[in-house]
């Protein structure tokens, strides 16, 4: 039997082992587990097909040196890379997965061999493993170095861009404060303040995005505070940023708890701004906050076109944006950051979007982050 045919025959056994290995990585969702099998099988079929086509020495050399004409994203393995990235696998885990599949194919292939053949093959297996080990070590260090330079880049971007941006904003605020401006001049100065404020918030989101990736979770610093104060502040800011929208605040019960003040501001701001941006102009954005015994239920509602059915399940994923409505100032990070803030406070966030009734984001926030940071 040729190895290519053997892979096709033993597909089920190989897949079972691959699956068991991939499942050992934390953080896989149910959907990802279901998709795993399809990919793995496609990749193996592509490999078997590749092996059974005759190959000239020139082609073999090209493959060994990694030069290929076809675009990687169209292959099953390329797609697998895209999906793994989306599922939060790091590059080391991705490489380990291939090491595992090679090991199980080799193990199954050599199991029933004659002793003499087996010895020569064992040598080859050892060689394969040594190369795999070397690839793994190089990739770990390489990825680590790339990550560090990314971190440095974003840190410099955050700090160095903010400084001149802040100076521009403050200068425009000084102009507004001078109260000697004509109506048109005043309007121009207000636009500078609004726009610099938007860029500032985008920078904050980008830096947080990098931070979450690096540390697996946002750091929070909870203190006793009143959520209503934050909601009122945000409402005032949004009214300035989006003069076409009104922000309505409804609240019931005690709104006090222990949370990170700056993060709460960012959370409410991201949700309300999202509602203002996607909501129908002229219709109010409604922020309702219900203080219950142990938690606060905060919801942000807007009327307007519902979020599409394809987008809805992925709405909290980073860099996802509603392509029809996305405006240039949106990076698609706002809702992702909102979710990370809620997670860091042991809360939950959900969305409901319908043609009739509009879109509502609902956050359930425990009044206090539980002390035991056990497995959840």
């Amino acid at each position: 039997v040729k190895l290519a045919n053997f892979i096709l025959e033993k597909m089920e056994d190989i897949l079972v082992e691959w699956e068991a290995f991939a499942r050992s990585f934390p953080g896989m969702s149910q959907r990802e587990k279901a998709e795993l099998r399809d990919h793995a099988e496609e990749i193996l079929r592509a490999i078997a097909l590749d092996m059974s086509t005759t190959q000239t020495p020139a082609e073999a050399n090209k493959k060994a040196t990694g030069k290929k004409e076809n675009f990687a994203t169209s292959s099953a393995a390329g797609l697998h890379g895209i999906h793994r990235h989306a599922s939060g696998f790091d590059i080391n885990e991705l490489v380990s997965e291939y090491r595992a599949v090679r090991a199980s194919v080799t193990r199954l292939w050599t199991r029933d061999m004659l002793i003499a053949d087996k010895e020569a093959l064992d040598e080859l297996v050892r060689f394969n493993e040594a190369i795999d080990e070397a690839i793994h070590d190089s990739v770990v260090i390489y990825a680590d170095t790339v990550e560090k330079s990314r971190q440095l880049f974003l840190g410099v971007l955050g700090h160095d861009v903010r400084t001149p941006l802040g100076a521009a904003k403050v200068s425009a605020q000084a102009l507004i404060g001078a109260s000697t401006l004509s109506v048109g001049q005043l309007r121009a100065a207000e636009i500078i303040v609004r726009s610099t404020g938007r860029v500032e918030r985008m920078l904050t989101d980008v830096l947080d995005f990098a931070l979450v990736g690096l540390r697996k979770g946002l750091p929070v610093n909870p203190i006793a505070m009143d959520l209503l104060v934050v909601v009122q502040d945000v409402a005032q800011e949004i009214r300035v940023l989006y003069p076409d929208h009104t922000v309505k605040i409804l609240f019931n019960g005690d709104q006090k708890g222990e949370w990170d003040t700056a993060r709460m501001h960012q959370l409410v701001s991201n949700l309300v701004e999202n509602a203002a941006r996607h909501g129908r102009a002229g219709m109010p954005v409604t922020v309702s906050s219900e203080g219950q015994d142990t938690e606060i239920v905060l919801s942000v509602h807007n009327e307007g076109e519902p979020i599409s059915a394809e987008l809805l399940p992925r709405i909290f994923e980073p860099l996802v944006r509603n392509s029809e409505h996305a405006k240039p100032e949106s990076l698609g990070l706002g809702l992702y950051i909102a979710q990370e803030i809620v997670k860091a406070h042991n809360g939950s966030i959900a969305v409901e979007s319908k043609k009739k009734g509009g879109t509502t984001f609902t956050v359930r926030l425990p009044r206090k982050i539980a002390n035991d940071r056990g497995e959840s």
Partner: protein
């Protein structure tokens, strides 16, 4: 309404220092500026401001040390010294607290927060 205050702004970035000075001037305050830590301490002694806004990463003498020297001087005991810095970590805030700063704003500090500091300081005098 806030009464006119004497304010010192220290930052090594020319645009930052000038824009903050302009903002405070239009709100009726008297402002002096410094572009490094040594200048900040000298200006504080000459001008005797009620409020000092201090950047931390400055040449010659960093902002934390400049703030500490002002706080330790007889003439600087009651000055309101507030850090305005790109560094907002807990460690950075602890360092300014230990040096005797009254507050720590993270850049970009909002107009509201800056004016709030001045209003509080002027109410305290």
């Amino acid at each position: 309404l806030t009464t006119a205050c004497r304010i010192l702004v220290a930052d090594d970035n020319v645009d930052v220092v000038e824009s903050l000075a302009l903002l405070m001037q239009v709100h009726g305050h008297e402002v002096r500026t410094a572009s490094n830590g040594v200048e900040a301490v000298q200006m504080a002694e000459q001008f005797l401001p009620q409020v000092v806004f201090m950047d931390l990463g400055m040449p010659l003498l960093d902002g934390v040390e400049a703030g500490r020297r002002i706080r330790q001087a007889i003439w600087g005991k009651d000055m309101v010294i507030v850090a305005v810095s790109g560094w907002g970590s807990d460690q950075a805030k602890q360092r300014t607290r230990e040096a005797g700063f009254n507050g720590h704003l993270v850049k970009p500090a909002s107009e509201k927060d800056l004016l709030q500091v001045i209003a509080t300081a002027s109410a305290g005098h």
